[in-house]
């Protein structure tokens, strides 16, 4: 158990390190002069040279990488060119919105997917099952940003129940919550389509197993067998998918924030791209990749917690 834990943690740290190398390499070593990218083609040679010196571009890549990682580990991601403030401050300011969006999206996804997937499995081959399978098949093929537009067309443009986009700020909690409803639903619908399918097939797989027959033979009701015996065992493969989906949801927020004009990290990264604000883009991409890696690590830990057989195997 301890061995497995150490191994996983070590792998996690190494992956984070590798991620930082990849991001740094992609943004600094690929052909292209960051100073030129930032200042544009009409910049004077003097200005370019000054900026190169300021960015430390004259140092060898390894030194620059170490400087960047070293500072990043202390929470210092440099100064944003376009905003003129530390990147860490920008992140801190915009993180709450993105996190609330991702977490609420995940909660809705899991709740909807478990309910639909288990219901479909329990009614295998009947109309309800077909409906869930059909909707989830379609759902997998619908781009989240298009779904958002359709929801805006219906609920904001036609019915005028909800705002079409924008964010009033956290000072008005009710309005803030209303502003997050459509983005959350857009994020969750597509992901829950995927998860409902996985839940259904995982539950069907478990239902064929001997201990489910034992539970029925012990006189437990269908409902109890389903929720107390089938679901916990069916959850094991589901946990992996949920981890991958959390990663997809977090990057999904990048798209959704741009659809709904929400001032979160996803919107920030696009503002940074159009302002050629390299330090900000670099920090945000690293952050997003780190969230993805962390989500997978947490899934590994959850596995250890859920499945007693894994503890024994190590």
């Amino acid at each position: 158990m301890a061995y497995l834990l150490i191994r996983r943690t070590l792998g996690f740290v190494l992956t984070l390190f590798a991620v930082s190398v990849v991001v740094f390499a992609a943004m600094n070593i690929l052909p292209g002069d960051p100073a030129l990218t930032i200042l544009g083609l009409d910049a004077t040679d003097d200005a370019l040279a000054a900026l190169r010196a300021e960015l430390g571009l004259n140092d060898p890549p390894l030194i620059r990488y170490l400087h960047w990682v070293g500072a990043a580990l202390t929470g210092d991601f440099g100064v944003s060119h376009s905003f003129g403030v530390p990147v860490s401050g920008l992140i801190a300011e915009r993180l709450p919105l993105t996190v609330s969006l991702a977490v609420s999206g995940m909660v809705v996804t899991v709740a909807a997917a478990l309910a639909l997937g288990i219901a479909a499995a329990a009614n295998r081959g009947r109309a309800g099952d077909w409906a869930v399978m059909f909707l989830s098949q379609i759902g997998v093929a619908v781009p989240a940003f298009w779904l958002s537009m359709l929801l805006v067309l219906l609920f904001a443009v036609t019915l005028r129940w909800l705002p079409p986009g924008g964010f009033p700020g956290w000072e008005e909690p009710a309005a803030a919550a209303r502003a997050l409803i459509l983005p959350t639903v857009s994020l969750a619908l597509v992901q829950s389509a995927v998860l409902a399918r996985v839940t259904r097939s995982s539950a069907l797989e478990v239902m064929r197993l001997d201990y489910v027959r034992t539970a029925r033979a012990a006189g437990f009701s269908r409902r109890r067998v389903l929720w107390r015996h089938v679901l916990p065992n069916a959850l094991i493969p589901i946990v992996t998918i949920v981890g991958m989906q959390f990663a997809a949801l977090v990057t999904g927020t990048i798209v959704i924030e741009n659809v709904f004009y929400l001032p979160g990290l996803g919107r920030l990264v696009f503002q940074a791209i159009s302002n050629r604000d390299l330090p900000t883009v670099q920090a945000l991409v690293t952050l997003f990749a780190a969230i993805v890696v962390t989500a997978n690590f947490v899934v590994d830990l959850l596995y250890l917690a859920i499945d007693p057989r894994l503890k024994a195997r190590s």
Binding site: R213, A215, R216, A217, G219, R222, I306, D307, A312
Partner: protein, 317 residues
Amino acid sequence: MIEARALSVGFGPALALREASLSIAPGARIGVVGESGSGKSMLGLSLMGMAPDAAEVTGSLTVDGVEMAGARERVWERLRARRVAMIFQEPMSALNPLKRVGETVMEPLLVHRGLSRSEARARALALFREVELPEPEAKAMQFPHELSGGQRQRVLIALALACDPMLLIADEPTTALDAEVALRVIELLVRLSEERGMALLFISHDLAAVARATREILVMYGGDVVERGETEAVLAAPRHPYTRGLLAARPSVGDFRRPGAPRRRLPTIPGTVPPLDLLPPGCRFSGRCPVEIARCAAERPPAHEGARCWLAAEGAA
């Protein structure tokens, strides 16, 4: 008291169980033998109301005088564990891998008996002692994968006993176990049946195990009960050709003990059990039977002194 009258389980026209009749009194110990596909497991499952959803169950089945044929799942749920309990072949996979075995045995006590957690725990430990699970307190805290096969089977027996059923159906309970362990599980089942006055339906393809565990026996082939009677009598003087074939195909201890003795080839019943939908309409064994007569394939033989065989019936006439 459980009575089955002409109980059939069909998948379309194919019958997995053909008009089986059986009455089980308190304390009775009945063996059911046959090859896989003989319908012996289907008989056990249908006594639990657990025949597959696709199957059509006909005939009559009464439990304590209440007709259960066509009963809804809800009604069956109230009978399972409390009147009729069942254990299965694979103790490996028959226990929920995510639950400590103590919790598994406590669950029916909490759900069906409404005991408090501490009462249920005490009762579960008492059950573990009754089935001679070693170190019950420690074992109760373990997960199924941490127990041996024999210990798992004991846990399953404890689970089945939790609500004091009047009938325990044991479907191949010893097949997956080592010979030594299997023997002790059989002894346990016999003792529990005697001490509790609980009936035991012991389903197995292992004649030696059935001989040890039971007083009455049903021999099944192709969904049909082909012979029945007292276990000792049937095994000593089988009347049905299939039972005779089954007994002849069994290796006896003596075959292996005499060094230097000429090796005897085990006789086998020629052919294999046909699939359900290709069974002959008359005696299910016709086609493989060494002493078959003309009418066997087309007409179902009547039961004569326990054996469903035209030869036995006509020999008597």
